[in-house]
Subunit: 251 residues, 2 copies
């Protein structure tokens, strides 16, 4: 956790979040008012946070990883917009006039370390060149658009990071993605599979693309599909930046 | 800085890095052996770090942002591979046998908050749906490949994050990228321009794609080009996750 995230959690009145994430920081926020809900209650959670803030209390909505990557921050902005609430960044606080009260809220997004970075760090250096990030969840996005993005990223030789590869109810998307990518990439392309990075249940494994369909994945898994330049070295997966093409890396 | 990064910097014998970044953490590492070099000396820096580690000392190489995203971590792996140095992740330390000494090194990559997350947090929530990350520097990558990736990402409606948009010697790439993307996206698509996120010189601004060529950018700038779903709300740039299509966000 960054110092800023720690400071914010220490100073706010209320903490709102998915129960699993709230439990991970329980020791830090034990004296706070806590609103925690189960999964798929995102709208209810953000609604509660906005109501609390409109009452004049400070409120933190917690996410795992970075709040801006497949997480809660966009929903805060979407709902403020839908409710016509005027929001300003925290830096403008000094510029606030007295008549600006009412439905005016300050919103600060505190960045974090996303799963694409924590997972990559455990694999070695798979993201050291251009990459595309795609969620395989078709709950809020039509599969046709997801498919088009996988195709484009595979064709243009991006490293591809897949979020939400599989859930209990969605079990065919990862194999479909594998088939599309195999049209453009070698079967032996390394694929890094990281589940629950930096947590107790952490698992890190490298598979060849041709065997990706046999990899154990769940909703806590991030999948890193190498570009044509990615390679495995011992237990690590590395995508070179290109120094060795231009300079001699052995002196 | 994460707690892990702080702990590592406190315990290592030596810190190696680009002078500008070393100066940002000078107060933390004042009692350490420091090897700092100017820009474009990446290979010399990593070489020095490997030599120090092979002498049996612990050594941290520092980057800004996340070390795995257009930064130094891949070069460490590339050079260890080129020098036939056997490297292992830190978790395997307990498994080390006595005979494994010699040219065997433990390598830990400590993840950080990349500019794509710190920049996004200052803009609002531009990365809450699929995105592609592309460096416009053609020093180590042929421009034809960069162009192909911009084209693919634009065509498949990814939010596009551009690193290294312009330097003193490279001044035409951002305008070329803009032209390619304008073939697929509306001139009024919001583009977030963030320079030196979270540092004193921080600048945050939103431009329409049609005027991107007039935006002030340098090597400390990250450019966020919206997808067809991205929108500006007051001073914020937001890419919705799609909740409002599926559910009513106003109750």
């Amino acid at each position: 956790m960054s110092k800023r995230a720690h400071d914010v959690l220490e100073t706010v009145d209320t903490v709102v979040g998915y129960t699993t994430y709230v439990n991970l920081i329980r020791s830090l926020i034990k004296d706070k008012h806590i609103v925690s809900t189960t999964m798929k209650k995102e709208i209810e959670r953000v609604e509660a946070a906005i109501d609390i803030a409109l009452e004049g209390k400070s409120c933190a909505i917690v996410s795992s990883g970075d709040p801006g990557i497949y997480a809660m921050s966009s929903l805060v902005f979407e709902m403020c917009k839908a409710k016509d609430i005027v929001i300003i960044p925290p830096v403008s606080a000094g510029k606030m006039k007295n008549e600006d009260s009412g439905t005016l809220l300050q919103v600060e997004v505190v960045p974090g370390i996303p799963a694409l970075c924590s997972g990559a760090s455990l694999l070695g250096a798979p993201l050291s060149h251009d990459f595309a990030v795609i969620s395989l969840s078709d709950l809020l996005t039509p599969w046709e658009l997801i498919e088009r993005r996988i195709e484009a990223a595979a064709e243009a030789d991006f490293v591809i990071v897949l979020y939400n590869p599989k859930s209990k109810k969605r079990n065919w998307q990862l194999e479909s993605a594998q088939k599309i990518i195999l049209n453009h990439r070698d079967r032996n392309t390394p694929v890094g599979i990281v589940t629950s990075a930096m947590r107790e249940e952490q698992k890190v494994k490298i598979f060849p693309l041709g065997n990706l369909h046999t990899a154990p994945v769940n909703m806590q898994t991030t999948v890193f599909i190498g570009s044509s330049a990615s390679a495995q070295y011992l237990d690590f997966m590395v995508t070179p930046r290109g120094y060795s093409k231009k300079y001699s890396v052995v002196s």
